[in-house]
Symmetry: D2
Subunit: 340 residues, 4 copies
């Protein structure tokens, strides 16, 4: 951490800062220029005292030098984390996983039909929402536990691990019973109670980046889960908010190499929500593979115009089957595997 | 809702759309241009079928015409809502309320000391956090219920209503016992379970806008609370995320006149978090009054450099006292009241 | 400037950096933590070598400590700059100036009529565009030099200084002949040739912030003008691009106190473009005064529905007259003057 | 164009709107709901009257239905435009072109050395700046015409077309003499005079998207060039401004499929500026190919730490050679060609 003092700071004020640094158990490194003085405070967890110094009147600015997260950092663990899900699915290794299914579990039949399509096309994880975060209170909110039962059943039948979203602490418990991966959505990325609950159970967690969250904040949220003892966290980029209005969100592919550098955790992309326009989902999925994704999430629906949510971005079965073949080619081109 | 069809749509496709409109109980209004056809579907709640049409291949684009929220809208209720809090405090009328106090309740003494300063300077509502949303799991997380007891005690002693933040459904219950206003923070603006819980109890709710939430989404989140039967919702702008990095956030004052037009609910501003730099909080508070705020939230701390959170943006007692006099002048200039 | 090295940098690599610092004529200040080393390079203009160090593989990050602009900085000149325009108008002092008029000079009559309305209501500077930057090549582009002649004439007749926008170097020359203040628009904030041309003539320049420009970049663009010898630069905030779509732009009032701290130059706001919705322009104007503006720009049009550009945000004469009285009250409340 | 009227509009007001529509030569299509009336005005160039209606008090909102650009639109020209540059280079066909070279032409030797590296690795167009847009007036501004002469010479020697940036109308003329493609930078995307000058000469123009420009605005700027008679416009995405600060910009790959749908013009990506961090440029280049780029721009520098600009994002020769092979694999995977 680098503490820059205001121009013309007096010796007495400089000493006040260095004494405070010492009081916290660190060694101050003072560098004096002609009219600017900076003080280095370097060491384990120094960054957590940032606000203490920012609140001092003589301090102009504090720059973080070390990362404020620890367990999630590449410094803490050098090799990529490979997460064992179930049914021999590992996320974070050479194989890229496609998690696909309907946005919402609308009925047992829909889920089974879609699951079969996904499986046959080469998808390896079945997705579907039982609890839906909807911006309007008047929109369809999901089938709840009933949906989760269909999910478990479909997973059994198709021999596929399943993923679904939890929005409350209670739902985390339910999901850890019925599903193989628990998703925490973008709107809940900083719902700290939920993060802690997800960290206290054993199932892998897929954590989506908030629409206005920086890469650093995503990693801090992951740290919440890791710090509770659950090391199986998958990060997911699903589009951020920008001024551009010709797409639903701006999927931030730049975040992938940055995350890969900062953390050992696997990174997955969600082009369906990321761009939010069906005819462009496939193109963004290809770019996601090329940029280094360990997996992608795709919404598939046999009859999108009857979908109760996210119809506009769901792929038709035929589109999905063709896309899988195209994705496989891109995966091979970047030294990964997708179809067997 | 206006449905624009792709160029060159065939009569069969146009009919498919108009039949669907009729099937949902609306009357289609077809306008045919030389190569573009648009279909109007106007009426109560038509907008909730937006995705149904977006999912049709012949549809190019759907424009919402009516607002997707109802109870929160100015159309539903023309006069400003005035919320009765307690101890004769009404929010939404001529009087502008200043809610002030420490960011976190760090100790009983701190709260009492600060409360006294606030009260004497003319503040009318005491704020302080017992549960703190912190981006790092390693930062101070608040005193919890103990803090709420101090809060209740301080409110009694000073005859001031109190406000504090709830991050979970359980905390909503606790807070509705100890405090007068329940705050829902920016990070939880779309935590729908929390919104519903807040809507099911009786205390007024202050709902903060998410850092990436549009004005429309803020109103949809308010609608969640209203739709549960609690009509006492105060909206709060506290800064959005933009590219600008010389301030902590960009407080969006533009949202105030827009909200005042769209909704009957009171609007409060939080310049402390909004700009996030102590020396500029006062200036932004003045602008907040001028732009039409029904109240403002200010962090005050007798010893900011010892604060366990948000020290850099807390005002010193002396600064707060002077500011209150300045705010009163601006309030009068725009036909409102602040100090008695 | 603070140079942070990658974890585990070897002594040889550290030396390479310190030698480079010395080679550029600065003294390196090395601070070594357990696994992180930082090197301070403090002194005049050190920041301009930032990229040299960023390009070194051993360097993790470079933080700027000193401001990259000089003549524009508060450090360079402590007192507020007061710019003498003409006809006894000074910008940057106690008096707040309202620059008003039609968006475009559409005809001699329109300009004279509007100018009279502006003058009578208390506006002190007449604005109007002769050259219009239009995003579509098919939109009305302005009357050109003919419009400037009307402008000069109206200024004479009404005894008011005038302001108009230049988009090219040639137009700068024309404008410096006909007008009293030369405006450089948001789209040209980083048109460096234009900035230099404006810096080489004598008339005051009003420089608008680009829609995606940081406060720092605005000051760097001002520095371009100042560095050519023209010290009479007025900065203008006119709205930035954000995700919010209920307003045309997000006028960034937060920038005003920040600019006032960083620079001695006067700051003006443009609520007409900033929020872009006529019925909210007045409210934003009041907030602009409260936040510390030295002036505001307002579009007025006697018949907005016939305006050839920006009709939706122009005020009607009656609205403008009432607004001026309201602004005067706010100005007095913050210790400034507006009407005589 | 769809004109939505305010709730409760009276018949007289509705008639005023329909009469205005008729007066402009269009047929109004009125759709009346229970309390909302909308009026369709569909036909060639109707959108250019948008502001006329927005300025009417009875109008609540105007939605554009048709695109405001014409020559640039896919509707105007269905097949992809393939631009013949020189020396048998075609942009917009099956072959993906890599434009590479130093950020700035720092010396004849540097340009020749880098050009040779580029050519040998499979790059097909030589880039280098003679005029540099720099945010600080104190930074290196380029060699000017001297640099262009080196450029022409290097192009001759290596048999490669060349590209360089023009910032003024005069530079457009110079560049059209010395270079094969004229680049217009992000900061000048709405410098309309420059766009017109580029449209009046014959060389192909590469137009970069502004950092805060929407896809629609990029196409409107392209329209400026096309409307002057030069149909050879290459669009370029180079990163937009967002809140994320771990990358220099956020390269918006989502814009590529959207542009490909809206326009027939070729699209090129600039990962060097887009992400702005050397070690991630290669990854973003692969994603650029996968997302459908017709070309990419890469900065290469034999000694980046000596570069006078953009050193931090320039690739080393060895990195560039390896990258080209990787890009070729991705190109093949998506059905394109890169290396011969």
């Amino acid at each position: 951490m680098i503490i820059t003092l205001r121009k013309g700071a007096k010796q007495k004020e400089i000493t006040a800062v260095t004494e405070k640094v010492k009081g916290l158990g660190y060694k101050p490194h003072v560098s004096k220029g002609e009219d600017i003085t900076i003080i280095g405070m370097i060491g384990d967890s120094a960054e957590k005292y940032k606000e203490v110094f920012e609140a001092m009147d003589v301090v102009e600015h504090v720059n973080e030098i070390q990362k404020p997260y620890k367990l999630a950092s590449r410094e803490f663990k050098r090799e990529n984390t490979v997460i064992k899900v179930s049914r021999n699915v590992d996320i974070g290794g050479k194989k890229i996983h496609v998690m696909a299914g309907p946005c919402a579990i609308e009925s047992r039949d829909l889920l089974n039909d879609t699951g079969k399509i996904v499986k046959e096309a080469g998808g390896t994880i079945l997705r579907g929402g039982a609890f839906k975060p909807r911006s309007s209170p008047y929109a369809f909110q999901g089938l709840g536990e009933e949906g989760l039962k269909y999910m478990e059943e479909a997973g059994e039948k198709l021999h596929m691990p399943t993923i679904s979203e939890a929005m409350t602490v209670d739902q985390v418990e339910l999901l850890s019973k019925y599903c193989d991966i628990i998703q925490i959505g973008a709107r809940n990325m900083q719902n700290y109670d939920l993060l802690k609950a997800a960290g206290k159970q054993k199932k892998p967690v897929l954590l989506k980046r908030g629409m206005a969250a920086t890469v650093k904040e995503l990693l801090l949220s992951a740290e919440y889960i890791l710090s509770q003892g659950n090391y199986d966290v998958i990060l997911c980029e699903r589009g951020i908010r920008t001024f551009e209005d010709s797409t639903r969100f701006t999927m931030d592919l730049n975040a992938v190499p940055v995350l890969k550098k900062f953390t050992h955790l696997p990174v997955v992309l969600d082009p369906s929500h990321g761009i939010g326009i069906r005819e462009h989902v496939g193109t963004m999925a290809k770019a996601s593979i090329a940029v280094g994704a360990d997996g992608i999430i795709i919404e598939v629906h046999p009859r999108p115009e009857e979908a109760l949510s996210d119809g506009p971005q769901s792929l038709l079965p035929e589109q999905f089957r063709n896309l899988m073949k195209e994705l496989d080619l891109v995966a091979k081109a970047v030294g990964r595997e997708l179809l067997d």
